[in-house]
Amino acid sequence: MTGAKKKQGDKLSEADAIERAKLGDPEAFEILYHLHKRRVYSLCLRMTANAAEAEDLTQEAFMQLFRKVASFRGESAFSTWLHRMAVNVVLMQLRKKGLQVVPLDENAETDEDTPKKDFGTQDIVLEGSIDRLRLQTAIGKLPPGYRTIFVLHDVEGYEHNEIAEMVGCSIGNSKSQLHKARMKLRELLRTSRAEKAIKP
């Protein structure tokens, strides 16, 4: 089967599964879960940096979706609808834990580590390619506010206006936090490379 045909087949499967899920078909719910579980779980994992918590949030996101599936009218793509729901579930959880999702003032000093500016020094170069495992580890070390914006923008592909609406901040704040997150990741990755270079 060609990629295009397989993709078409998948779309038909999802559409059928949605209609059957509206009727309460157990198999349909399972199909929808397996189609989208990776993306939802990855989102939750990146944003929480905790596997157990990510699984709980994945479960909650799918349960919210399945309770409302009968009201899905198809105005947006099903995956978009599910994804937004998952993001909201994670953000609510972060807020419940008392974590500041994003600073309200983009210029405010926060308790999070502020990345150092780079002035005219040549440090370890990342050589244009990033080791995925090290990047995942570094994302997990980001402060929650930076991590939220970075995951939503660079990993999940949301635009700043969408992020601003979801987390309740300004577009400027979203851009500022993203830049700080990337700078912090660069710092973490350089430190990691330096440590690796030093070890015998």
């Binding site: 157990p26 399972e30 799918f62 990342l126 244009g128 995925r132 660079d154 851009k175």
Partner: protein, 208 residues
């Protein structure tokens, strides 16, 4: 343009809003050039992380259990699960048909018993109370109890009792297979009550 000035507008540069002055600084400053290269690599690398991981099987198991508990789907072993699982179970076609049949039997027995005086068997006429009910009574027991009636009446009530007994047996089987099924238990109790009503009507008829 200094490095400080350049890095102040670096977010805009990364968003593709660089002008000639920015480009010139990048060409002339290896440090800022490396910085931009690293940040772009981080953004590109992040895209590859999307949908990378898989949750453990317990997540689906929990979801499935919750869907069943909330009645959004039927448990996998319950017959008719594919048909109307999101509706309340007692509205499934099988149950509705059985409930309608039992109601018709009861109504039919009522009207039959009220259609006028018929022959009264002396033994049954002495019974002023309905025969004791035994949910576990077999068809043979029922026929024996009604053995004293006229042939026409016996035939009528025997058919009704046999139908009700069949429903009771089906409901008992379902309850045995699904002990947690409250609807099946309620239906079984209703079936017992319907048989009691048919009995009662038969007995009432016999003493008129």
């Amino acid at each position: 343009m200094t490095c400080i000035e350049f890095q102040d507008i670096l977010p805009d540069v990364l968003e593709g809003e660089a002008d000639a002055a920015h480009a010139a600084h990048l060409m002339s400053c290896p440090s800022c050039s490396e910085l931009v290269s690293d940040l772009r690599a981080i953004a590109s690398g992040a895209k590859l992380l999307c949908g990378d991981d898989e949750p453990s099987p317990r997540v689906w198991a929990n979801i499935q259990r919750t869907l069943e508990a909330e009645g959004i789907i039927r448990p996998a072993t319950q017959p008719g699960a594919m048909l109307f699982p999101q509706q309340r179970k007692w509205f499934s076609p099988a149950w509705l048909t059985a409930a309608a049949a039992i109601a018709l039997i009861a109504v039919g027995a009522f009207f039959y018993s009220n259609r006028g005086p018929t022959s009264i068997h002396p033994q049954l006429s002495n019974n002023t109370q309905a025969a004791p009910l035994s949910p576990g009574a077999t068809d043979d027991d029922d026929l024996a109890l009604l053995g004293q009636m006229s042939p026409a009446e016996r035939a009528f009530y025997a058919d009704d009792l046999q139908t009700v007994n069949n429903f009771i047996r089906d409901a008992e089987t379902t309850v045995a297979q699904n002990p947690e099924d409250d609807d099946a238990r309620h239906f079984l109790m209703d079936a017992y009550q319907q048989r009691a009503m048919v009995y009662s009507l038969a007995m009432d008829r016999s003493v008129q």
